[in-house]
Amino acid sequence: MAKKSDQNSVSKGGFRRFITKSSQDYAIIYMLLGLFILLSLTANNFLTLNNMINVFRQSAIFGILAAGEFFVIISGMIDLSISSTAALAGIIFAMIIKAGGVALMPVAIVAGLLAGIIVGIINGLLVAKLEIPPFIATLGSFLYVRGIVYLSTGAYPIVSLPKEYNFIGRGFVSGVPFPVIIMAIIYVISIVLSEKKKIGRFFYAIGGNEEAAYLSGISSVKIKTLAYAVCGLMASVAGIILMSRLGSGQPNAAIGYEFEAIIAVVLGGVSFSGGKGKALNVLFGTLFIAMLVNGMTILNINPFAQQVIKGIVFILAIWNDVVRNKVSR
C-alpha cells in the first residue's frame, strides 16, 4: 500500500516539475505545434500557402500590439489603453494624408507614432509618478483617448484617401504581406531590446522586484514611463497598419484589440506578476490565437462561439500562470 502511494506522489511531483519547467519556455511552442497538427488534420484548406499567409497577415496587428504590451507586463504593469491609442494614431495618420496627400506620408507616420509615444508617457507618469494602479490609470486613458478620437472626427470615418497609402496595410513584398514584414522587424527589435539592452534588463528588474531594483539605483519612474512609451509606440504602429488596411480612418477601429494582445502575451508564458517571459514566445502566442481563429472560421464555427472559446483559452492561460507561480514558490 505504502509503496503504491509513493509511486503516485513520485509521478505527481514529476508531472508538476514537467509543467513548471516546460511552461517556462517551451509550453507555447508545443501548444502551437499541437494546434497546427490538429487543424492540418481536421480543417480542409488549412494547410495551404495562401491560408498560411493569411494567418500571418491576420496576426500582424495583434502581434505588434502584443509586443508593446509585453514590455509593460514584464515591468509588472498592464496597459488597457492600446486599442484607443491605435485608433488615435490611425486617425491622425489619415487626417494628415487627407489634408496633404501622399507627399505628407512621412509626416503622417511620424505624427501618428508621436501620438502613441505621448499617450504612453502620460500613462507612465500616471502610474509611476502619481502612483495610480496601472489597471485604473490605463482604463482612464482607454476612455479619454477614444474620446479624443471621436471629438476630432465627429465620429465620422475619414474616407476617400489616396490609394498609395493602402500599401502599408495591404501591400506585398515578394509574396510576403508588408504588415508581416513590419511585425518581424518589431519582434527582432523587441527580442534585442529585452535581452540585449540595458533598458530591457531594467524592465525585468523593476517587474521582478521593484524595491530591490530601486535600492540598486534604478529609477522606477523613468523605467516604467519608458515601458509605457514603447507600448504606446507599438500601438501606434499597429494603428497605422490597421487604418491603411481598412482603407479609411475609422474612429471605431481596434475596439477590443487590447484583449487579443493581452491573451497573446499571457499565452506566451509571460507572467502577469512581472519580471519573466520572452518576447519570441509572445509572437508564438499571437500566432496561436490567429491560427485558432482561422481554423475555427474554416471549420465554420459560429463567431459568437469563437468568442466563448477565446475567453476560455484566456482563462486557461491565466490559470497556468497562477499555477506556475505557485509551484515554483
Binding site: S9, G217, S328
Partner: protein, 501 residues
C-alpha cells in the same frame, strides 16, 4: 535508542524533495515525541525550511510518508493541515494588519449563531474567546487594537493564539526569534513552556544555539538535505552541535580584529528626519568596521536608508571623502561608491526571476555593455569571478537566484556591490536568518573587505557579533545616538543600558 515513555506525534519516513538543480531533502526520517519542544537546526540550505513547508502542506513531497498523531498525511494543503492540528508560525507573519487582534485570532473560524437569515457572527463571543486565549498567555495585549499597532513580538503572540484557537496539537515556529529582542524572547519562551504544560508539541527552528539549550527537549541536526542526528538536548553541547551542523569543528567564529584605520571616508553632520532620526553625527574611516547596535525600532535601519539617500533628509547631510556637497539620492550615493545591503534580502535585495549573473551585474551593467549591447560572454566571465571568489554555491551562473539558499543569495547581493567596486558598504542585519557556517563566512568577508581599505557599517541585533567584529560601536535608541563604546572594553550590559536609555 529513543525513550519509550513518549509516543511520537509526528513520524517522518524517507522524505525526498527536489527543486530544479537542488536535492533539498534526501531520505529524511525523524520522530517527534508528543509534548516535546523539538528544535531543528542546520546551516542554510540544510533543508529545515523545506521540511517544515512539507509538514505544513506548503510543499508537496516527492515521496516518503508522514504520520501525524497516528494518521498518514497525504499531500494536504495548508488549510487541511491546520484542520488536522498542525499550525505554523511563519517568519513572515500572516495577519490582517487592518483588523483588530481578536478578529485575527479567530480569523476564518469565528463563533457563529444560527438565526433566521442563516449563520451570523457572534462578535461578543468571538471577542471573549480571543480574550481568554490572550489572557492565558499572561501578556498585555489589547484585543481591540488593530494588529498594525502591535510590535513584531506581540504580533507573533497573536499568531500563536491563532494557532491555539484551531486546537493545534503541533505548533511549528520558523525562526521566531530572528526579529525579537532579548526581553521579547523571554516572553516567547514562557509561552512555549505553557504550550508544553498543555501537552502541545512545538517544533522550534532557530539559528541561535543558546536558545535551543534554553528551551528545547530534543534537537535534530540537518545538513545538506539530510538528517544527521536527533538526540536529547541534555546530551549535547554547543561545540558538538556546531560540529554536527557544519560537519567539522569550528574554533573561533570571529576572525582576528585588525585596526588600521585610514582617511575619513564618510561624515554625517547633524542628520535629522523629524520623528525618525535626531541630530546624528559621526565619521567613518577607511578600513574601519563601525557597528551600530540598538533595539528593533531604534532607528538603525532608517539611519542606513538616510545615509544611502533612500529617504528624504530633513536637515543636515551625508558627506563622502570631504565633499562639500551632501549625497542627494541613491544614484548619487552609488556613483560615489556607496552600497547598501538591505535587511530584508528577499524583498529588497534580490530580483528572484533573474539569474545569479544578472543579479550580480545589475548595478554595474555598464561594465558588461559593449557597443551599447549587453555582452553575455563578458557578463558570464565577470559574474563567474565573483561566484568563485565569494564561494557562491550555484550550479551555474545563469541559474535563477531564487533557487539559491539564503546565505548564497546574500553573497550575490554583496557581489553586486563589489562588482562596482563599492568602498563604503552598509550591512543591515547581514546575518539575519543565516546559520553558523555562513555567518562565519560573512564575518570573514567583512573583515577581509575592511582590510582592503573599505569602510563598513554593520547594523545588527546580535550583540555578540557586533562586539566580535566591530572596531567601534555606536548605540542607538529612539532615533538618537546614545553612546559610543569600545568593543574591547564594553560589556553586553553596557550596550543594553545605552540602548534603553
Amino acid at each position: 535508542m529513543t525513550q519509550m515513555k513518549n509516543t511520537p506525534i509526528l513520524l517522518i519516513e524517507n522524505i525526498n524533495k527536489s527543486f530544479p538543480g537542488v536535492h533539498a531533502l534526501n531520505n529524511v526520517s525523524m520522530e517527534i515525541q508528543k509534548g516535546d519542544v523539538h528544535a531543528i537546526v542546520g546551516e542554510n540550505g540544510a533543508g529545515k525550511s523545506t521540511l517544515i513547508k512539507i509538514i505544513s502542506g506548503a510543499y508537496v513531497k516527492d515521496n516518503g510518508s508522514i504520520i501525524f498523531d497516528g494518521e498518514e498525511l497525504g499531500d494536504l494543503s495548508p488549510v487541511d493541515c491546520i484542520a488536522m492540528g498542525i499550525s505554523t508560525v511563519h517568519q513572515e507573519l500572516r495577519l490582517v494588519e487592518q483588523l483588530p487582534v481578536f478578529e485575527n485570532i479567530l480569523l476564518g473560524a469565528p463563533i457563529e449563531n444560527k438565526s433566521i437569515i442563516g449563520k451570523t457572527v457572534n462578535w461578543k463571543e468571538t471577542r471573549n474567546v480571543a480574550l481568554k486565549l490572550i489572557e492565558s498567555m499572561d501578556i498585555d495585549i489589547d484585543v481591540d487594537m488593530t494588529v498594525s499597532e502591535l510590535n513584531i513580538a506581540k504580533k507573533q503572540i497573536v499568531e500563536i493564539c491563532k494557532a491555539l484557537s484551531r486546537k493545534a496539537k503541533l505548533v511549528i515556529m520558523d525562526e521566531p526569534s530572528a526579529t525579537l529582542t532579548e526581553k521579547e524572547l523571554k516572553i516567547l519562551f514562557n509561552i512555549i513552556k505553557k504550550l508544553k504544560e498543555d501537552g502541545i508539541t512545538t517544533i522550534y527552528i532557530s539559528h541561535r544555539l543558546e536558545e535551543i539549550f534554553e528551551i528545547a527537549d530534543r534537537v535534530t541536526v540537518m545538513r545538506d538535505g539530510q538528517h544527521i542526528i536527533t538526540d536529547d538536548v541534555s546530551k549535547m553541547d554547543r561545540k558538538k552541535l556546531i560540529s554536527y551542523m557544519v560537519g567539522r569543528e569550528i574554533e573561533n567564529i570571529f576572525p582576528p580584529r585588525k585596526v588600521n584605520k585610514g582617511k575619513v571616508l564618510l561624515e554625517i553632520k547633524n542628520l535629522s528626519i523629524p520623528g525618525v532620526l535626531n541630530d546624528i553625527n559621526f565619521n567613518l574611516r577607511e578600513s574601519e568596521i563601525l557597528g551600530i547596535a540598538g533595539l528593533v525600532g531604534s532607528g538603525r535601519t532608517e539611519l542606513a536608508r538616510a545615509i544611502f539617500g533612500v529617504d528624504k533628509i530633513d536637515s543636515g547631510g551625508v558627506y563622502l571623502r570631504g565633499d562639500t556637497k551632501p549625497i542627494r539620492n541613491i544614484q548619487d550615493a552609488i556613483n560615489k561608491k556607496m552600497a547598501l545591503m538591505p535587511e530584508d534580502r528577499k524583498k529588497q535585495g534580490i530580483i528572484p526571476d533573474l539569474s545569479v549573473g544578472m543579479n550580480i551585474s545589475l548595478v554595474g551593467i555598464n561594465k558588461v555593455i559593449e557597443k551599447s549591447f549587453i555582452n553575455s560572454k563578458t557578463e558570464k566571465k565577470l559574474s563567474e569571478e565573483f561566484i568563485k571568489t565569494l564561494r557562491i554555491q550555484t550550479p551555474k551562473w545563469d541559474q535563477l537566484i531564487k533557487y539559491l539558499s539564503g546565505g548564497n543569495q546574500q553573497k550575490c547581493v554583496l557581489a553586486k556591490w563589489l562588482f562596482v567596486e563599492s568602498d563604503l558598504i552598509i550591512f543591515d542585519e547581514p546575518t539575519r536568518g543565516i546559520d553558523v557556517g555562513a555567518k562565519q563566512e560573512i564575518y570573514r568577508l567583512l573583515t577581509e573587505l575592511a582590510k582592503q581599505g573599505k569602510g563598513i557599517i554593520m547594523i545588527s541585533s546580535e550583540l555578540s557579533e557586533i562586539m566580535g567584529i566591530s572596531h567601534r560601536i555606536l548605540v542607538m535608541h529612539d532615533g538618537r545616538i546614545t553612546g559610543e563604546v569600545d568593543p574591547e572594553k564594553t560589556t553586553q550590559e553596557e550596550i543594553m543600558h545605552l540602548a534603553t536609555i
